[in-house]
Amino acid sequence: MSLRLRHFLLVGEATQTPWSLSLLEALAPLGDLQLVTKVEAAQVLSRDRYDVVIVDAGAISDIRDLVDRLRRQKPNVRIVVASASPTWRQSREVLLAGAVDYIHKSLDQRKLRARIQGVLDRPTS
């Protein structure tokens, strides 16, 4: 495991939610997490480098479009979509749009960290 501090970006609600706090705690051993809205995401992404961008599907209506736009903006960025009520149709949409993983928000912190670590272990395309 790399000792380098990682940078994560969570695209979702403007304010902190119980899940974003839980995610913050889960990822704390790996690095820092910044919270932005969908509108701010493009600007922040063009300015700073992030190891993983996590998209909160509950806060975004046109999720496929957002994944598509982020991938066009930064083709190498690794995007993970998190949903409280995952469906295979939405999973299909986001994976085909270029997300590398699709996770259930109900995952406990240990499993959540393991999934994100799995994404970090992948080489960027």
């Binding site: 295979w88 999973s91 994976l95």
Partner: protein, 685 residues
């Protein structure tokens, strides 16, 4: 000329589902939508189809073994086989779920996926047709509207001809499928074009072909390319080596990859030649050699070895100290000193001589001591067997060899030349980091074997003797009295060697070792069991390679015979003989100019002592020009001594950038470092 207005193949789908009725009804819908459907009701049938049939996309049901078992993901196992063959898969299921969806579409670390889409069976036939359309559009990417014109080259009247040239051993029943597949690969490579004309073959290699191709865009603009197509693994190897060794180069004259596509058995790469005015007019070097005078060919040789290959040669260039046995292993791919390789050699030498005799080449004879050449004038020339030569201890000593990125198979057919005598290199499948001398000796060998048309062993013997008389690579070769053909070959080889002298240094030894290994490689290619299949021309090349290897061995082993009569220092360190004006370094004679010799002799007489620059300069000026004024001596000191030392180091030091013999003593001058001071010099002269 035959015009391929319509594609040979049509969009074809392998449909794999254990529900017979479902498969049959869906297949009807797909056929109505314009697809050809191959059906497989079991995994076994699907694997058979994968083995024997050609299709573009597979539609696979996830539960192929037990519809009632939620753990049955057998369809995904088939997807792994299909992914290995680069077949895009649309997964089909009656029980969609996050788990199977994730396994199918979540990208692997290399970016690949098991499937390109995932469809619920209950979504109806239109959904499946829609997903298939998108798979064909995004993954298969075949330009169905491309008009392909065949027949410019008479060997290529239709795609079947191309397949037969790439794989002559292909069974007849597979020919149609493979021709369809190869045509599809071309339609992928030329995805953005309206019309393609397949041009002449430039060079044919095992499993692949380089061709000229001209394509027209939809705006009617004409663009010329070099097209490589062939067996997938061959083209992939070519592409990988290109990525490893070339793609980062800027401003080079290697072919540049424009696009690359692969299918199950074939792949193709489209190259552009940078700075080339018209690809239509470029010709292989072999053809240029036959059509142009020697001086023009020599210009092309210099352009090839300095401009086209020189930059790459310098890439990661390093000097290594390696034994000939290691070089042999790298070059030939086998160990030399094993009993099996020795007995293989003995058989090989004997059978080449016998094969030559059967082909009417009577001049060469294998004898107990080696090889004899009997000329028409009844002269007999005897040479050692290369095997004996390679076993002598002198060849076990290490030599200093320059390594860099080489083309690896420079045979003149894979070099293109245009009207302006500019060159481009193709064929990257043998590129590697290896001794640079390989590129020079392979081109020299190509001139001797492929370009010099005359097949007379006595003439070749004469040519080789003149070349072996060279003391260093830059020295002119005597061409007096040779036939015009041989004189041309000698001029061109002289230019190759002159380029080698510039790149590797003038020293002959490593070049000769390279030539020897190149010749031995040819001899090892001889297959005694195939003897009757060889033409006289082919047999002649084997005989010449064998003779030449014996001649080079004689030249290489001469120093070792002479070494026996010299002090041991000549073999292990540095030895200088004032009376004979000769210098030996670590077993090899070194040729020096008069001034270099005087300088070295001065240091040698004062071995292991620091010699002042001013004293050295005064000695050199006094012995050379006794009337020099002291100020001119100082001038000589400043201007010439540095370059003299640089030249000498290049000739005698194993690694000139880290000299071990002539070392600089800061603030004073130079010191010749020897293990012990020579006892044969006891007074300073």
């Amino acid at each position: 000329m035959m015009t391929g207005e319509k594609a040979m193949s049509e969009p074809t789908v392998l449909f794999v589902d254990n529900h017979v009725d479902f498969l049959d009804t869906r297949a009807e819908f797909l056929e109505q939508a314009g697809y050809r459907v191959l059906k497989a009701y079991t995994l076994g049938q699907a694997k058979q189809q994968l083995l024997n049939s050609y299709f573009h996309v597979a539609v696979v049901d996830i539960r192929m073994e037990d519809d009632d078992n939620p753990n049955d993901l057998s369809g995904l196992r088939l997807c792994e086989d299909l992914a290995r063959e680069s077949v895009p898969v649309v997964l089909l299921t009656e029980f969609p779920g996050l788990d199977s969806m994730g396994r199918a579409l979540r990208p692997n670390p290399d970016g690949s996926r098991l499937a390109v889409d995932y469809v619920d069976k209950r979504d109806g036939p239109q959904a499946l047709i829609q997903r298939l359309e998108s798979a064909f559009q995004n993954e298969v990417r075949i330009n169905w509207r491309l008009k392909i014109r065949w027949g410019w080259d008479e060997n290529l009247r239709q795609p079947h001809n191309l397949v037969s040239l790439i794989d002559p051993d292909l069974l007849w029943e597979y020919l149609r499928d493979r021709a369809e597949e190869l045509e599809d690969v071309l339609r992928k490579v030329f995805f953005n074009y309206r019309q393609l004309t397949i041009g002449r073959i430039i060079v044919r290699r095992r499993g692949k072909l380089f061709l000229k191709a001209v394509a027209h865009t939809s705006q009617g603009r004409e663009e010329w390319f070099v097209l490589l197509c062939g067996e997938r693994h061959e083209v992939e190897n070519e592409r990988n080596r290109y990525d490893d060794f070339i793609s980062g180069e800027v401003g080079s004259r290697s072919a540049v990859v424009v696009s690359y596509e692969k299918a199950r058995h074939f792949a193709a790469v489209l190259y552009r030649l940078p700075n080339c005015a018209t690809i239509e007019d470029v010709v292989p070097f072999v053809q240029f050699y036959q059509e142009q005078p020697a001086n023009r060919v020599a210009v092309v040789v210099r352009d090839l070895l300095t401009a086209s290959l020189g930059r790459r040669h310098k890439d990661g260039m390093e000097r290594r100290h390696v034994s000939i046995h290691k070089l042999y292993h790298e070059w030939i791919g086998k160990a030399l000193n094993t009993p099996s390789s020795r007995s293989e050699w003995e058989v090989r030498l004997d059978s080449v001589c016998q094969g030559a005799l059967s082909a009417g080449i009577k001049e060469l004879e294998c004898t107990s001591h080696g090889l004899d050449l009997r000329t028409a004038t009844r002269e007999v020339f005897s040479y050692p067997s290369p095997l004996t030569c390679l076993s002598t201890s002198s060849l076990n000593s290490k030599c200093s060899v320059l390594y860099g990125i080489i083309q690896g198979n420079l045979d003149g057919k894979n070099v293109l030349v245009d009207d302006a005598a500019l060159t481009w290199v193709l064929d990257f499948g043998h590129m590697s980091k290896a001794p640079l001398v390989r590129d020079f000796v392979s081109l020299e060998t190509a001139v001797k074997f492929s370009m010099l048309r005359c097949k007379n062993l006595t003439l070749y013997h004469d040519l080789e003797r003149r070349l072996l008389a060279q003391h260093d690579l830059g020295e002119a070769v005597n061409a007096e009295g040779l036939a015009p053909d041989a004189e041309k070959a000698l001029t061109v080889i002289g230019e190759i060697r002159s380029c080698a002298a510039d790149a590797l240094g003038p020293e002959m030894n490593v070049y000769l070792i390279g030539l020897l290994l190149q010749m031995l490689k040819y001899v090892l290619d001889y297959q005694p069991r195939e003897a009757l299949r060889y033409t006289r021309g082919e047999m002649f090349i084997f005989a010449y390679a064998l003779l030449s290897s014996g001649m080079i061995c004689r030249r290489l082993t001469v120093p070792s015979e002479r070494l026996k009569h010299l002090p041991p220092r000549a073999a292990t360190s540095l030895w200088l003989d004032e009376s004979e004006k000769q210098v030996w370094v670590e077993g090899r004679p070194v040729t020096l100019t008069t001034r270099e010799f005087k300088f070295l002799a001065y240091l040698y007489q004062r071995a292991n002592e620091s010699c002042e620059r001013s004293a050295i300069a005064e000695h050199l000026s006094r012995t050379g020009q006794p009337d020099l004024h002291p100020s001119q001596v100082k001038e000589l000191d400043r201007d010439l001594l540095n370059s003299l030392v640089r030249r000498l180091r290049k000739k005698i030091e194993p690694n000139p950038s880290h000299p071990k013999y002539i070392v600089t003593v800061r603030g004073i001058g130079y010191r010749l470092v020897l293990d012990e001071a020579p006892v044969d010099i006891d007074s300073h002269t």
